[in-house]
Amino acid sequence: MQITVKLYGSLCIGRFHSAVREYPDSSTIQTIVTDLGIPSEYLIRLKNGYHVPLEEVVQNGDTVSLLPMLDGG
């Protein structure tokens, strides 16, 4: 199935800003994060604009956004 993956901030470095990628059925956010070699800690994960856990299952046509989880100062 096809998933649009969007990356933000330093997560884009050496990867991409936005890409449509192929994943097997029943993939989760964790599958995508692992596939891209992004540490799953301190990560904001959105599916179609909504915050979701790593175990969230994705479906064909979904948009997954991954953002670094920062803090203020």
Binding site: Y8, P68, L70, G72
Partner: protein, 611 residues
């Protein structure tokens, strides 16, 4: 600090800290070893200073009885990474209740000043009264303990914060400095004066790479006391890093929390600057006075775009491996690194950038630099300026400050200079007072009289429970963006559990960028390794909680009423449809949240203040 036993919880009086009281009126100083009363005293910072402030009933900030307390945390000057913090506490000229009573405040800064103070042998200095002439205080290590000298400071007057530091540096070797800029000197018209702290990098390079204790006008308090600078002179006494401490520091660097603030080149996310990318994904970057437009104008301030104009270099305070500073340098014609332009942290970047309608990084750097040199708090100044610009957009016929408008770089620059030099009290006294004068308070971005940092109030109802600055004393400013949580239970829980623990870093002497919560075993390990004291994570959390609640109790004692625990009216009256995060902060939600938070806090607050 003298530590006579290992257990600061059951026997806090066996830990004694060295206090110096300087009477600025007479120029005399006394010193004593003070036994700690509780774990908050032992940990230090505001946990200790607020207990001193609570003993005084102060009706106005600018009065001789209002002390300025300088202290450090238990890990300041230790071999724990980021252990550099110094703290300044007083009743604030800027933050006051509707009844007109000043609120207790503290402000924290890095640099190497805190270390040097500790190495003179002092843990705390209380400046009492005020000098009739401009002076500076020198603390140094003497043969029989810390030495104190008071000297005339006329030659420093009018200099910028950086110039004062460099002038003192030429006179005092082996020293670090806490100074005020012109803003602090003009304390009557500027209530948002910052304290400027020197860094090793600054002294070596001669460039303005200071750190700041900005919040709440502690620099203005120094100005009121005619205390223009403080010198801490000592040889370096950083202890030997033991193998166990090396492990602690390795864990500080390796934990994912601090990695977020480390340089991109080191695999980190590049400091707080990267927040802009995250928040822009939700159109939640403040623009035009905290009113995002839903467009991509802020992209000019994204790192890759700024790197086209500047050489961005990650630097650090003394021996800190986190290296969170993003310093921007001009590029010479041959492409080599030129002079320093400014530091780029999230707060000043936004508050002197998109929030005042400026998205050109060259202009933003100039405004940040100016604010720093004049010695003002970037948050208070930026948020007050954005109010002026917003007001003028709404009232083109009767504008404030010569009609300056969003995006007008030259006019805004002039406004900053006039404010910092004490020529524009409307701005220098902060947004609460200004908005009360104009009668338009709903878009004045402050809570309880302290201007908001660069995180939208509609994304953080917990601002109401921050006791010393919206994001420095309540760790919920990114909660919505990070977790997407909008439930009442979630917010009550995050405020009353994790959020308030944010203040713990302002006790122990470390930077928040260590990136772990107060309950993390790393903190208790670090304290154990640096001091030999045995204190559990639970005990640290309990002490931090008491210190926070004491601060909240002190607010109430200074006259804050329930309806002052609120957000700018615009949040409820006119939600911004451009922000794509959920709009959940209604008046009803807010009232219920407050009721439940107070129901948890109030019983615990009993007995925390002296009778």
């Amino acid at each position: 600090m003298r530590i006579l036993s290992q257990n600061p919880v059951t026997d806090p009086s066996t830990v004694l800290y060295r206090r110096c009281v300087v009477d600025l009126e007479t120029g005399t100083a006394t010193q004593e070893d003070v036994p700690c009363k509780n774990l908050e005293d032992v940990l230090g910072g505001f946990g200790r200073s607020y207990q001193i402030l609570a003993e005084r009933k102060i009706k106005e900030a600018y009065c001789p009885e209002n002390p300025l307390i300088l202290n450090i945390g238990i890990l300041t000057g230790s071999t724990v990474m980021t252990g550099l913090r110094s703290y300044f506490s007083s009743y604030s000229p800027l933050k006051q209740s509707r009844r007109g009573l000043p609120s207790a405040m503290w402000s924290a800064g890095s640099g190497n000043f805190g270390n040097k103070l500790k190495w003179t042998g002092l843990d705390e200095v209380i400046f009492e009264n005020r000098s009739t002439t401009p002076i500076y205080a020198v603390f140094s290590e003497g043969e029989n303990g810390p030495r104190v000298e008071i000297k005339p400071a006329d030659h420093l007057l009018g200099l910028t914060g950086h110039e004062k530091i460099m002038a003192l540096h030429s006179e005092y070797k082996d020293a670090h400095f806490a100074v005020i800029g012109p803003a602090g000197e003009n304390f009557n018209n500027v209530y948002m004066g910052a304290i400027v702290l020197s860094t090793d990098n600054q002294l070596k390079s001669g460039e303005g790479k200071s750190r700041f204790a900005g919040r709440g006008g502690m620099g203005s308090m120094m100005g009121y006391k005619n205390l223009i600078a403080i010198v801490a002179q000592s040889s370096d006494k950083m202890g030997k890093t033991t193998p166990d401490m090396r492990d602690v520091n390795r864990d500080v660097i390796k934990n994912g929390g601090s990695a977020r603030f480390q340089p991109v080149s080191q695999g980190g996310h590049g400091g707080t600057w990267a927040n802009i990318d995250v928040l822009q994904a939700f159109h939640a970057v403040p623009e035009n006075n905290f009113r995002p437009k839903g467009d991509e104008d802020v992209a000019g301030l994204f790192r890759p775009n700024v790197e086209k104009d500047f050489d961005v270099h990650s630097e650090a305070c003394f021996r800190c491996g986190i290296r969170c500073h993003n310093n921007l340098y001009h590029r010479n014609a041959d492409g080599s690194r030129g002079a320093l332009a400014a530091k780029f942290d999230f707060e000043p970047l936004i508050l002197f950038g998109s929030n005042i309608g400026i998205n050109d990084s060259r202009q933003v750097t100039e405004l940040i630099h100016l604010c720093d040199y004049l010695g003002m708090d970037a948050i208070s100044l930026g948020s007050t300026i954005s109010y002026v610009l917003d007001y003028n957009a709404r009232h083109p016929d009767q504008p404030l400050c010569d009609g300056v408008a969003f995006g007008q770089f030259d006019q805004i620059r002039e406004l900053i200079v006039r404010t910092g030099r004490g020529k524009l009290s409307e701005v220098g006294r902060g947004v609460k007072r200004l908005s009360e004068q104009t009668g338009e308070t709903s878009y004045a971005m402050h809570v309880k009289g302290l201007e908001l940092p660069a995180y939208l109030p509609e994304t953080n109802p917990a601002y109401a429970f921050a006791i010393a600055g919206g994001h420095m004393s309540m760790g919920t400013h990114m909660y919505l963006a990070k977790e997407g949580k909008t439930g009442l239970d979630d917010w009550v829980e995050v405020i009353t559990r994790q959020g308030l623990l944010q203040v713990g870093y302002d006790m122990i002497g470390l930077c928040k960028f260590v990136g772990v919560g107060m309950g993390h075993e790393l903190i208790s390990r670090a304290i154990g390794e640096a001091t030999g004291l045995k204190v559990s994570s639970e005990e640290i959390v309990a002490a931090v909680r008491r210190a926070y609640l004491r601060g909240l109790a002190l607010e109430l004692r200074q006259g804050y009423e329930d309806d002052e625990y609120t957000l700018p009216g615009q949040v409820f009256e006119n939600p911004n449809p451009n922000v794509t995060l959920p709009a959940f902060v209604t008046r009803e939600f807010f009232a219920r949240m407050k009721q439940r938070v107070w129901a948890i806090f109030k019983p615990e607050m009993e007995g925390l203040l002296p009778e």
